[in-house]
Each structure stands twice: as structure tokens, then as C-alpha cells.
Symmetry: C2
Subunit: 426 residues, 2 copies
């Protein structure tokens, strides 16, 4: 029987039962952290061998370049190919950078603010208003960059095959101050959503009032599947070229969740003109990136097939963790109509929606029982979820047995908050 | 006999002699590159061992942190100490970053432009004019950053113990639009000058009309001595604190010319308030820097004494190269009054001054004889040396025997240009 169909007495009975469970869990003094999408130690061990000096050989790239010395701003040719393959973009349209793709995004946006997108367009900082479309729920660090740069964020709902394109098309056609949008096309954070071909085509083709409209395509989970292989998506750079909006999209990826988190390499792909523009800007700010780490990566991972094989090992470690969470949710909550949850085929997160208005209460109740969840609201611009319902669960770091206990706590918290909600309504 | 004392016939005789030498060298089809301060392969080999996996141990920092995972934005504690020791600043005032100190300088300046220095000061991009003091000759990449950001550069002559402080004090006292200055306090690029205690004290104490005046102290060659050990300089961060201008100075260093060029780690030091400010800004733009490379560095170099021992090995390789250049110049040109040259005790360059107006001709003549020198003017803002006399020689990369030949070519070129200069005056 659903809580929504119970009378006060029935609800009080349920509440008593769940409170007893909660008290029992609390007495066990758990300490579980499901806040961040961090790889577990077993996953990191998959790449330990990459640190063997043998992968550096004579320290030379395929073109004979000594990776221990200055030179080559845009990345070793073989690494441009490798990173291009992850994003599905030709190596000629790729620049390999340092250890952080977030840093590339920030760097490009900062340059847009200070100097504009190039081609004589006005620097965004000189405009009265700059706005960005933000599919929600989304990645908090994208939103933090916008907030820090004073870019207004317009949340747009993310559906099963990408954001609400009807709404986005209408917004960008009418408002010149909308200068760009965020997008996580594969296994998005936190929903695990993958954009359909139609969504990507519509993003590439849509008519924008701002001629300097730019899409930041963060393909952070490009090869981070949980089953047999990554979902294929349309190449946004090609689609933009076909549509005549050739400079619209920048694509980003990194190996942070392929090899080492924060010890990997990152890359950006875009049109030829954008890549030339970014190369010129990079020349101003650095002599070059760490080519030894680039060499290490390409020798260890070899090629795209090598990456897929490597990611299968990650998947074997991650899948049981996702399964335990999903199975527990299903077992405890299926049919109760008090929680929705995503069933991701990849990425690092499970996204749950409580009854409207309960997310912060659930997070707080779980915290008091030793289970740390990402703060409610984090997946929305300005940390404000207007429906106060979305919570991001990061199951990668804890062990399977810890996860089992943590999700039990979560379920009890969801139940308690939901019972109280229905009780108050009566 | 000096060329300046010769008559036309004598000069023509000299010219004929030097032209014959030049033609002879030209026939040998040399190809020598003395343009960039790149370590030689033998120097890079000194650090090969650092790439051994043994230095990573269990991948843990001293505090137990797993360097393969996300976390620790400001650097491993033991690496903050190491980099702080290089700059002579306490670890609590240090942030360890990625592979490029130039990138930190650019990043901070860009933030000043967009948001100001903090504390409610106006963003520099909102001001009509922003100017920087640039000691000359100096490092071209500092000047390129300013030029790219639209910061006007005011060249100030570099003397033996630092820049002309009388002039700088006068300028900054009177002009509010002067927002900062560049400084390379040790073995400066290209002069090899080290700032005296008095110079550093005056920089820390001088009265600036702009309350948001900032000094960029690029200590790139902090431990890059050619003889027995690095010259000691006053700690600018402490001096600024003593003088009540506590947030005035940022200090930068990297291991690019200690371990691997572009494969090292970098750091910034400043006041407590500035470091907190920069940490907050870094949080917006990255999850963290490559801690595995930080760990590798500290395990390999150990401590400050370890760095000094390591730098002695570099010095043993570099000293003969500087000596061959300096000895050749002395042998061929001493007493002729046609060339001045620096006698650096460290750093990567020898700076030469031709007779006014001849630098570009010398560089061009040498190029036609297969000897590549940094383009004349490169050591000045906007690549304009008003006296057209300064040339930067980078002796680190070529072998000693190549250098011997290259400097012979250089001397002939200086002679030819100087003879023609005096001939034309008669």
C-alpha cells in the first residue's frame, strides 16, 4: 500500500517502524561518503603500471621529439589522435592540455569574457548581461564557473534523450544575451542521460540570435560505460560544420576517470578556426603541457581499443556498485511512488528525485545517520533546486558492502520524510 | 687598434679579412640554434631516474593521501615545503601548481583584469589604462602576457643590482595607472643580474599611488647557479609584510630547469591573504593539479639540499658552455669597444650589447651563416629595443664544440657590422 493512500494511523505505524530502523542504523555509527565521483582505490590500481618507466622508453614521441624538453604546444601527435578518438573528432581538430578538462573550459570562458570569441565579437565582459543555458540537473562545477564569471544561468530540464530542445530553441532564437550552453552528451552528471542524434543535430542547427553563441560539450564520460561499450553519439563538431555553424561547439574530455583522477591528461576539440584561436591563446600563457604524462598515457593505453579494454576493467568494478544501489532502491521503494531514480548505463552517478520539497530533509537525515550525500541543490545553478527534490548519489568510492548499508539508510530516510509529508497533508 | 681609431683604408682591410672568415664559415653550412633557453639532453638525463615507479612508492603523500585520486588543491604539504624552500618562503604561504609557472603568472594577471586584486579594488579591465614597469632587457614571455592583456609597458633599465629604483620610485609614486612590475630577482633573463638587498627593500617599501600595485617576482633561476651555490636574496614576501605592503608581491618558481622542461612542477608564494585569494580562485577552475608528479619530484629531489646537489650536476654541464662563449668573446673582442657582454654567475643566458643600432644586423648576418640567435628586440616590450643593441645568447642546448664554432661566427658578424658602422661614419 502506498503512503499516499494511508490514513493517519497507518502512517504513524509506518513511521514508528522506520524510525526504529533509523535508530538502529544510527547506533551503528556509520561513516559513509557518497558525495563525490571519485574512483575507488581498486580502480586506480588498474593504471599503476602506467607509472613504470618502461612506458617512457627513450622519452621520445613518434616524431622523435624529446618529451623531457620544451616544445609542442598542442600535444604529441599520437596523443592528439588518442584523445580525438575518445571524442570522435579528427586529431587535426584537437589540442591536448594538462591534467584538467575543467580548467580548459574555465580558460576558454575567461577568454571569451575578456576578449570575446574572436572575429571581432564584443568581449562578453563588456555586455550588460551574458546568459548560459544549463540543462538540469547538471554538474555543479560548470555552474560554479558561470557564477564566478557573473554569467546568468537559465536552467532547462534534462529529459531522457537530452535537454528540452523546444524550449532551448525558443530561448536562443529570441535572446541575444544567451551566449552559450553547457552539455554533457554522454552518461551525464548526474542523470546518466545520453543525447540522441536528434538532440545533437538540433543543437548544431538551431538559430541563435547571438552570433557568438558557443556550446560547451563536456564529454567527461565518453568511454565510461557500465556494460559492454560506450554509447555512440553524433560528432557535434561535424554537425556544426554541416549546419554552417562551424565554430559553435567545443568538446572536452580527460583521462581523469580512465587512469588517475587529477593525474591524467585532458583535451579539447573544435573547428579548425577555434583550434587555431585557442592555440594562439595558449601560446601566451604557457610554454607547453606535460608531454611526459602524455607519452606515458599513449604508451600505456595504446589506442582507442586499448582504452575500451581498460574501461571494461573499470566497468567490472563499478557495475556491482551501481547494481547494489539500484537493486536496493527497487526492493525497498518500487511501487511506493515516493522516489524516482535513474538507471544509468554509464558515468559515475545515480540521480534520485524525492517528492517535491524533501531532498534537503533526506540529505540532512542521512547525514545524522553517518551517510554523506552531495548537498541537495548542488546539481542546480546557484545550488537552488526549485523543486528541492534532486539528490546525486556517487557509488564509485565506497565498497560494495558499505554501499549496501548506506543505501539502506538512504531508503529509510526517504521513507521517513515521505511518511511525514503525507501525514502533514492529512 | 680599435676600429673607431682606424681610417677608411684600415677599415676596408679589416672588413676584407673578416668577410673572408665569414665566407669560409658560410661554406661550412653550419646549423646552430642559440635562440631558446632549453636544457641539453645531458641535463635532462640527470633526472631520468625520477620516472622510476619506485619514487611513487605506495602513491601516498606523507599525510597518507592517495596521490592517484582527486583532492588537495594547494599541493602536497611536503612539496609546498620543498618549493617554498626554493623561494625562501614558508610553506604556509605557498601553492604548488601544474607544470608551468608562466601559466600561474598569466592566470593571476587575467584574474586581476577581470575581477581586480580583491578587497573591493576595481577590475583592471574597467580602467582606462593599466601600466606595468618592465625592467629591460627582460623575458619576452612576460611582455607578451602584458601585450595580450592590453597592459602598457614602461621599460626601465636593469643595472647590475636590479632595475633603476630611483626612476621606478618616481614613476609609481606619481602614476596611479601603474599597477605592477615584473622582476626576475636572481640570474635574470637575459642579463644574469641578481637584485641587491637594497633593491628588494626599496621595491617592498616604495610608495605607490595605486593601492592595488603588485610585483610579479619570477624567481625562475632561484637555484640555477654556475659555480658553488645560489646567490641569496632577500625574501620579498617578508619584506613586503614588514613594510606594511603585505599583499604587494607574488613569487614564482618551477622545476622546469631542475628536472624536466615542461615536465616539472611550479609554485607561487605570497602573503597569507593573497594565497587564500588564489586558492579560492583555483577552486573555481580545477579540481586539483597533478599530485603524482609532485610526489615524484619530492621523493627524487628530497629537500632543498638535495636540489642544490642536483643543481651542481647541471652547473658542471653548463659552466663549460658559458665559459667557451665568454672566453671566445674575450679573446676576439676584448678591448675593441664594439661589444659588451654579461658575465653571469647563474641562469641560462649571456646578454650582449652591440654598438647602438647594430643588433638586428648582427642577428641577420649570423642567421645567413647558420647560427640562429633570438631575434633582436625580443628582450624588450613590444619587441622594440630602442637602441637596437641587445642580443640574448642561450648557450645551454648546443654542445661545447658546436658553441665554439657558433661564437666564432657571432664574433665575425659583430666585427663586420661594427667595421661597416665606423666606415660609414667617416
Amino acid at each position: 500500500m502506498k503512503y499516499s493512500e494511508m490514513n493517519k494511523e497507518q502512517l504513524l505505524n509506518e513511521l514508528k517502524k522506520e524510525r526504529e530502523r533509523y535508530n538502529y542504523y544510527q547506533s551503528k555509527r556509520f561513516s559513509y561518503d557518497m558525495t563525490r565521483g571519485k574512483p575507488a582505490p581498486e580502480q586506480l590500481e588498474l593504471s599503476n603500471e602506467m607509472c613504470d618507466i618502461k612506458y617512457l622508453g627513450d622519452f621520445k614521441a613518434e616524431n622523435g621529439f624529446d618529451c623531457r624538453n620544451y616544445g609542442i604546444l598542442d600535444g604529441l601527435p599520437e596523443v592528439k589522435k588518442l584523445m580525438g578518438d575518445i571524442m570522435g573528432v579528427d586529431a587535426s581538430k584537437v589540442i591536448v592540455c594538462g591534467n584538467s578538462s575543467l580548467n580548459i573550459m574555465h580558460n576558454i570562458l575567461t577568454k571569451f569574457m575578456l576578449s570575446g570569441v574572436g572575429g571581432g565579437c564584443t568581449p562578453w565582459s563588456k555586455l550588460e548581461k551574458v546568459k548560459f543555458i544549463c540543462p538540469v540537473p547538471g554538474y555543479d562545477r560548470h555552474f560554479t564557473i558561470c557564477e564566478n564569471l557573473g554569467i546568468d544561468m537559465i536552467p532547462v530540464e534534462l529529459k531522457e534523450d537530452g535537454p528540452d530542445m523546444d524550449l532551448i530553441e525558443k530561448l536562443v532564437r529570441e535572446d541575444e544575451s544567451i551566449k552559450g550552453m553547457w552539455a554533457m552528451p554522454r552518461y551525464s552528471n548526474p542523470d546518466g542521460c545520453t543525447y540522441s542524434d536528434e538532440t545533437i543535430r538540433r543543437i548544431a542547427n538551431m538559430e541563435c540570435k547571438a552570433e557568438d553563441f558557443r556550446v560547451f560539450f563536456d564529454d567527461a564520460y565518453a568511454v565510461h560505460f557500465l556494460d559492454n561499450g560506450p554509447e555512440k553519439i553524433l560528432n557535434i563538431v561535424d554537425e556544426c560544420q554541416k549546419s554552417g555553424n562551424e565554430n559553435r561547439a567545443f568538446v572536452f574530455c580527460s583521462t581523469s576517470k580512465i587512469t588517475f583522477a587529477g593525474g591524467g591528461i585532458s583535451a579539447v576539440a573544435s573547428s579548425k578556426a577555434n583550434i587555431e584561436w585557442y592555440n594562439k591563446y595558449l601560446f601566451i600563457q604557457t610554454i607547453g603541457f606535460d608531454k611526459l604524462n602524455q607519452l606515458r598515457h599513449v604508451k600505456f593505453l595504446k589506442d582507442y581499443e586499448g582504452i575500451i579494454e581498460h574501461m571494461k576493467k573499470h566497468a567490472r568494478l563499478l557495475k556491482p556498485k551501481f547494481d547494489i544501489v539500484l537493486n536496493s532502491l527497487e526492493k525497498e521503494l518500487e511501487g511506493l511512488d515516493i522516489l524516482e531514480w535513474s538507471k544509468p548505463k554509464g558515468g559515475y552517478f545515480i540521480s534520485i528525485n524525492t517528492i517535491d520539497g524533501l531532498a534537503d530533509k533526506v540529505v540532512s537525515l542521512a547525514k545524522d545517520c553517518g551517510v554523506l550525500l552531495t548537498p541537495a541543490g548542488s546539481t542546480f545553478p546557484y545550488k537552488k533546486d526549485p523543486r528541492n527534490r534532486n539528490i546525486r548519489i556517487a557509488p564509485s568510492f565506497p565498497s560494495v558492502s558499505d554501499l549496501a548499508e548506506a543505501v539502506r539508510v538512504l531508503c529509510v530516510c526517504v521513507k521517513i520524510c515521505s511518511i511525514e509529508y503525507y501525514y502533514d497533508k492529512l
